[in-house]
């Protein structure tokens, strides 16, 4: 049998390097607490933007090890404390990747709850098993020593960084960039002209993957281009 020879493609150099950052968050306890679904609906409209961010985007970081059953704090509370399974399913189906602003995300959440309460008015005043406490998070950015100027360096950096870094670039980034994308895909598209690779990375399902899965899936995709 003839030996196969692996030929590496020449490395494409990025116009600008990718700097891996990470982030740390601190949960700030808000003043609002809902004891019924009716109160919850009202507070969802008035709570600060960073509360919506905390209970949707940031909670994925706190539960990054789950592949199923947990998408955001709102759905979880409606299910576990209010026993409103239908509404919980609808809220769980709200995918943060489709939103580039908190305003738009909030509008969907509010509309979902209001619509449910219009159809199920008896659910409005029923006491929840435990209150929903609106929190927010203060997030600080932490630089890392990892810098990528090509895909090989990118893959190496991705292997080394913490899962918080992946959350920062892959999930939090959407609201920061106000794009339906993420830092990794954006860099590959804009700095390496690898649009197809960027698209494939952007399509990884964060709701059926752990953050470690996301890391491995990105690495696998990047490997195909090396």
């Amino acid at each position: 049998m003839a030996a196969t020879q692996t030929v590496s493609r020449p490395l494409r150099w990025a116009r600008s390097p990718f700097y891996f950052n990470s982030s740390a968050q601190l949960i700030r306890i808000g003043r609002q607490r809902a004891t019924t679904l009716g109160e919850f609906g009202v507070m969802l409209e008035s709570c600060p933007d960073d509360s919506i961010f905390q209970h949707t985007f940031q909670t994925l970081r706190e539960h990054h090890y789950l592949r199923e059953g947990f998408t955001n704090d709102f759905a979880h509370w409606v299910f576990s404390a209010c026993n409103e399974i239908g509404l919980a399913e609808q809220l769980a189906a709200v995918d943060v990747r489709e939103y580039t602003s908190i305003k738009a995300l909030r509008a969907t959440l509010v509309k979902t709850v209001q619509s449910y309460l219009e159809k199920n008015p008896h659910s409005r005043e029923r006491a929840a098993f435990e209150p929903f406490y609106f929190c927010a998070s203060d997030t600080v950015v932490i630089p890392t020593p990892f810098v990528a100027r090509n895909l090989a360096e990118f893959a190496e950096g991705l292997r080394q960084v913490s899962l918080h870094s992946i959350h920062y670039h892959y999930i939090e980034a959407r609201v920061r960039l106000r794009l339906n994308s993420n830092d990794f895909s954006l860099w590959m598209e804009e700095e390496l002209d690898l649009g197809s690779l960027a698209d494939r990375i952007n399509r990884i399902d964060i709701y059926t993957s752990t953050l470690e899965d996301v890391r491995q899936k990105i690495l696998k995709i990047v490997q195909t281009a090396l």
Partner: protein
């Protein structure tokens, strides 16, 4: 940096101090004399007549191991997480911290500070720990405050408030407040805030549940609390409405402590052998003080219901029965409920049994925490960290840890507890799935190192040294 030891001979009693060292070495349940008295009809009628197996415990506390270094955590967390801590600490270089609480040994706060302070200093954020001192009268008052803040009845008077203020003032005069940050733990030293000047930021770390406080005590403390720059609570449910920012730090465990570090399989086997636990059959365990709020009798009832369908043993291990009269009564109730079932193993352990408890948790097939009321429930955290499937009551801080059917199962009754035991014993893959998720949940949220990070971030924010990410 080592903490100052309290100069007073009196410190507030805590759960861990309930048992006097060296006193409770004879941990055998139902000593023979008691049983003979019962046979003669002179002893408590409810105690079972059979003699329980005697087991061995260490008679004296072992020497404490040296605190771990930051690098010791690297195999658990990974290099990147440790580097993130180092980066955050570098930002704070030159800033100094003082933490103050009311006891140097015993109790959860001292336990955490004993681990936290060395790590902060290793990170080159000079952190000094001081302990307030006081006489018996002060600690009686603060114990009363503690119970009252948990919602208990407490008759306040001017004299009581004067005692609190006098000792706070004494400590305030004795201490120097030259640091950049002051973290005051719990209500006992709360009035030290009177030393607040232009320089320095003050944080009140409240470890207790203030959701339903005695109004008179809270009204007295509130003006002090409101002078702090921020407050930190263990749960949003434990807070009060305050005009200062409130942050949430979950309570935490140290993965390298005696209670949580990895153990050799041979040691786990030895502990089981010593205590008469058969590892060839499923083991259900509840670790808790003999306290009605932990519902040990309910656990026995659940075990008995489950045992109709699945073979298992039950280990109830804890302390508090040796010199706490109520604990002894509860222990007697537990023994009566256990009857002569040889598969119920009741262990009244001395306070220095961390390694033994660790081994029992690791040997368990399922860990139960069927409390009727609970604070945060760190025994649940410990079990989750050991990748154990947990069946726990949905009370206190437990639902933060046990996400139903994802990191454990929540129950609301004896019957529910029994059913979940049966289900998990007959679905080991699901039990394993819960255990795996549970460990990851603790790793992300409830480890000491996570709290080190939270403190560093809070210090940066409160000193205005960092800009937080804004979303819109």
């Amino acid at each position: 940096m080592t903490p100052k030891q309290p100069t007073s001979t009196t410190t507030e009693p805590t759960e861990l101090q309930d048992q006097q060292p060296g006193k409770s070495a004879d941990a055998v349940i139902a000593p023979a004399e008691t049983q003979q008295e019962e046979r003669r009809g002179t002893g408590p009628a409810t105690l079972p007549v059979r003699e329980r197996r005697k087991y061995k415990v260490r008679e004296t506390p072992p020497a404490p191991p040296p605190p771990p270094r930051l690098n010791d955590y690297e195999p658990i967390l990974g290099r990147a997480d440790i580097d993130e801590l180092r980066f955050l600490a570098r930002q704070l270089r030159g800033k100094t911290v003082k933490m103050v609480n009311s006891t140097a040994v015993g109790g959860g706060v001292a336990e955490i500070l004993n681990r936290l302070i060395p790590l902060m200093n290793e990170l080159e954020v000079p952190t000094k720990w001081e302990v307030i001192t006081g006489g018996n009268d002060f600690f009686e008052v603060t114990k009363g405050f503690h119970n009252a803040l948990h919602g208990g009845e407490y008759l306040v008077s001017k004299e009581i408030f004067d005692i609190f203020l006098m000792y706070n003032e004494q400590n305030r005069q004795r201490m120097e407040f030259v640091e950049d940050l002051f973290v005051i733990h719990d209500p006992q030293p709360a009035a030290l805030i009177r030393s607040k000047r232009d320089r320095g930021r003050w944080i009140w770390r409240c470890h207790i549940d203030l959701s339903n406080p005695n109004a008179a005590v809270w009204d007295f403390l509130r003006p002090f609390v409101e002078q702090y720059d921020a407050a930190v609570f263990s749960s949003p449910a434990f807070t009060r409405q305050l005009p200062i920012p409130q942050y949430m730090f979950y309570p935490c465990i140290d993965p390298l402590s005696e209670k949580n570090k990895d153990l050799d399989e041979a040691y786990v086997q030895k502990v089981c052998d010593d205590f008469g636990v058969d590892r060839s059959r499923p083991i259900l365990t509840q670790i808790s003080r003999f306290d009605r709020l932990k519902d040990p009798v309910g656990v026995i009832e659940a075990y008995k219901l489950a045992k109709k369908y699945v073979d298992c043993q039950l280990v109830l291990a804890g302390g508090g029965a040796s010199d706490d009269p109520e604990g002894a009564v509860v222990l007697a109730e537990v023994m009566a409920a256990a009857g002569d079932d040889p598969d119920i193993i009741i262990l009244n352990l001395p306070p220095w049994s961390a390694l033994e408890i660790n081994a029992l948790q690791r040997a368990s097939t399922i860990v139960i925490q069927k409390s009727l009321r609970e604070g945060f429930g760190l025994t649940v955290t410990e079990a989750l960290w050991k990748s154990k499937p947990v069946v726990a009551a949905a009370v206190g801080g437990i639902p933060s840890q046990v996400i139903h059917k994802l990191t454990g199962v929540l129950v609301h009754s004896v019957e529910g507890c029994a059913y979940q035991i049966r289900y998990l014993l007959t679905h080991p893959e699901f039990a394993q799935y819960l255990g795996k998720n549970g460990r990851e949940h603790v790793k992300e949220n409830f480890l000491l190192t996570t709290n080190v990070k939270r403190w560093l971030v809070l210090f940066e924010i409160i000193l205005g040294m960092t800009r937080t990410l804004k979303v819109a």
